[in-house]
Symmetry: C2
Subunit: 470 residues, 2 copies
Amino acid sequence: MARVVAAFNRVTPTLVDRLRDAVGAERVLIDDESLELHASDETEDLVFRPEVVVVPASADAIARVMRLATEFRVPVTPRGAGTGLSGGALPVHGGIVLSTRDLNRILEVDRENLMAVVEPGVITQVFQETVERAGLFYPVDPASRGSCFLGGNLAECSGGPRAVKYGVTKDFVTGVEAVLPDGTLMHHGGKLLKNVTGYNLTQLIVGSEGTLAIVTKIYFRLLPLPRHRMMLLAPFDSLEDPARAVPAIMHAGIVPSVLEFMERDAVEITERHLGKSFPHAEAAAHLMIELDGNDEGVVQRDAERVAEIVLEHHAKDVLVADTDAKMGELWSMRRAFGAAVKSESVYKEEDTVVPRNQLVALLTGVKQIAARHGLRTVCYGHAGDGNLHVNILKMDMSEERWNTALEPAIREIFELTVGLGGLISGEHGIGYVQKNYMPIAFSAPELALMRAIKRAFDPLGILNPGKMFP
Amino acid sequence: MARVVAAFNRVTPTLVDRLRDAVGAERVLIDDESLELHASDETEDLVFRPEVVVVPASADAIARVMRLATEFRVPVTPRGAGTGLSGGALPVHGGIVLSTRDLNRILEVDRENLMAVVEPGVITQVFQETVERAGLFYPVDPASRGSCFLGGNLAECSGGPRAVKYGVTKDFVTGVEAVLPDGTLMHHGGKLLKNVTGYNLTQLIVGSEGTLAIVTKIYFRLLPLPRHRMMLLAPFDSLEDPARAVPAIMHAGIVPSVLEFMERDAVEITERHLGKSFPHAEAAAHLMIELDGNDEGVVQRDAERVAEIVLEHHAKDVLVADTDAKMGELWSMRRAFGAAVKSESVYKEEDTVVPRNQLVALLTGVKQIAARHGLRTVCYGHAGDGNLHVNILKMDMSEERWNTALEPAIREIFELTVGLGGLISGEHGIGYVQKNYMPIAFSAPELALMRAIKRAFDPLGILNPGKMFP
């Protein structure tokens, strides 16, 4: 089967002129600073410089850019806020970076249908807070919510801590408007909870990492905002006990809205990074558990039952946060983990996901693999949905040893993950940095099928090339 | 762009022999009775006779059948229980009907992960009852649950009354094993709440009506079984009042687990069909509302608030069903609507879906369109998610007038639906009977994209041809 065509042209002065005509001269950036700014995202220390950056202000303008890219056979890398962790926004083949930052309107918050319609450049937290003011709830809550865009969340199918009860981005997107690689504007779905009219293009585009289409409008379903929320923090002396407590909680018929796991190193690094202290920082691991609901009594009762269960699993203590201030403090700590690890050392983060009752096996296995390769790992993540972020830290290891040890260790970790019924990315995406590991997760015919779908959308292979496939 | 290849061969004696070798002689049926049995489903009065029926007992056997179909270029129509309402299981080009009825095991109910793994031939109700015995809940509840298969539910993305709170089939499928048209066995997903490893093939296959792959194993997520349930029945003197009450209930921050709408004719026809009587059968319309949750007091309080809201919207009464027996009676009535309509007259059912607050506009418009064409309609459906089943009844109309009036009336109804932000099928699928209306919902490039996806899976076009596309 033929591969996606990948013979690209360079950006010429003619193309730059045509782009200026298409979107307005001030929206075409070729100065050094702009190119530099769009050369990296939050993925490790990778840098790929685009040849030109365009910042269209409408879906039509995006369509015009894609028609030009098609005509000139120049690659286009769509970019949201650049907070991605798998290199999805990196222009690895140069060409055009297309920023969606100026499509940033919340078009509608519809209380009767519990729906919202937004453009892709809206910051996730801005959206969350806007719908909350209308008594509504958008539960998807990536750690970067203060700066990431909803369009990027859609492209990566962002998850975050509330997936255990509420699901991930895909579970809230009911429709899209998008520009196809050839410049065609397409619609699918809408303010609809049910829709079986044709193939589910919406769900195919969600999580496709900007390789199939550029989303220009998103329909989200929303929930009524739960009226009560409460948080528990349980320190443990081992890694295994908290991991075992997780399925026990689900077993009791309680689905917490958050069930986070963090090992000591993650807490310590973050304490150092923020200059704050965390209760029971000396514990081997913590579970952070949030319960929510409309009835205060029920939330309270569930919290008591969860406290009993974690104590049965040898929690050293159960701390309660029941005010917005106390919960906010725990959250700001939790959300800083990524940045803290980043500031500690050169690192590589793997976004493993397994069935939640395999978390003990995954954790134990990761530690054994890392030890065998002389690597230090710091693990934290979403225990409720089996999504464990494994950070491998270089620390003072020599470049040579780091480069030799890393790849085989990652490969072993992914093989372990897949062996446990899991996969190699839960919420960060494959992008540029994980693409060579895809054959661990998929057979050759499965990958060929995905490539064929890519070709169905993008026969010239100009949209976000060099991503997802080995 | 090239169309899907559709030059098929007939089933030859050689192919029949090869099929016998592939799946066992007793699993290849060519007797008249078997062919007749597999010539129709629950879709109107359509009959298409297959040339041969195969009943494989494993995924490998299905793969062997598909390899033979590929070699002989013979079309294959997968079939579950044959309860579909859009003709998805009809072999409109003859060839092979492939029944999944003997892949009927519940492989696992996993309480720690709140997941189940099943084969496609499991009856939906059997699955529901099995997981309920483990304290778990599979909320998708098509009216045909007593006979339909989970594989068919997946193929059509079945919905049912609980979508308003819990979602539809796609919201519960976290992974599949499937046979591709060329006989390749593929996997995607698993017991995972988060997974962004490659394109979301699972969600593409769900709702693809057996045109992309034959599913041989399904991973479902489950919920803890809510401990309390209560039902309200509210009769109204108009069609508009109940439709207006629906968004008002959502507005109050209450999401009922069921919010069904039924107009008088649906109730009357069903009373006649079942020989039973329904309270307030003379009312112009009813809302049937179910509330569920773990706390009896909360369910009770929500029910009281909902009762207030419907009374504010001029309900004539609010009847409460709070025992399993009373609720069971209402459900058996509700589930009989389809069969009752069928027994009443030749009919055509449209499965319209709009944003829920457009229900009044849809209902009013449908009645006006039908009146203009001299047609009688009986409407009922899932008001909570805007999914209205519009049954057009022939009654004693002449064949000629029926045939003349029907098509333009349907077209107008679908145009209205799309104009209200809706689409032409909410849960029954496009299949054979709605395919010519697809251009009302999609532009030519959108349809071309869907066809290209079809080709990516099925370059020879042998899997369930003649469906979904005009």
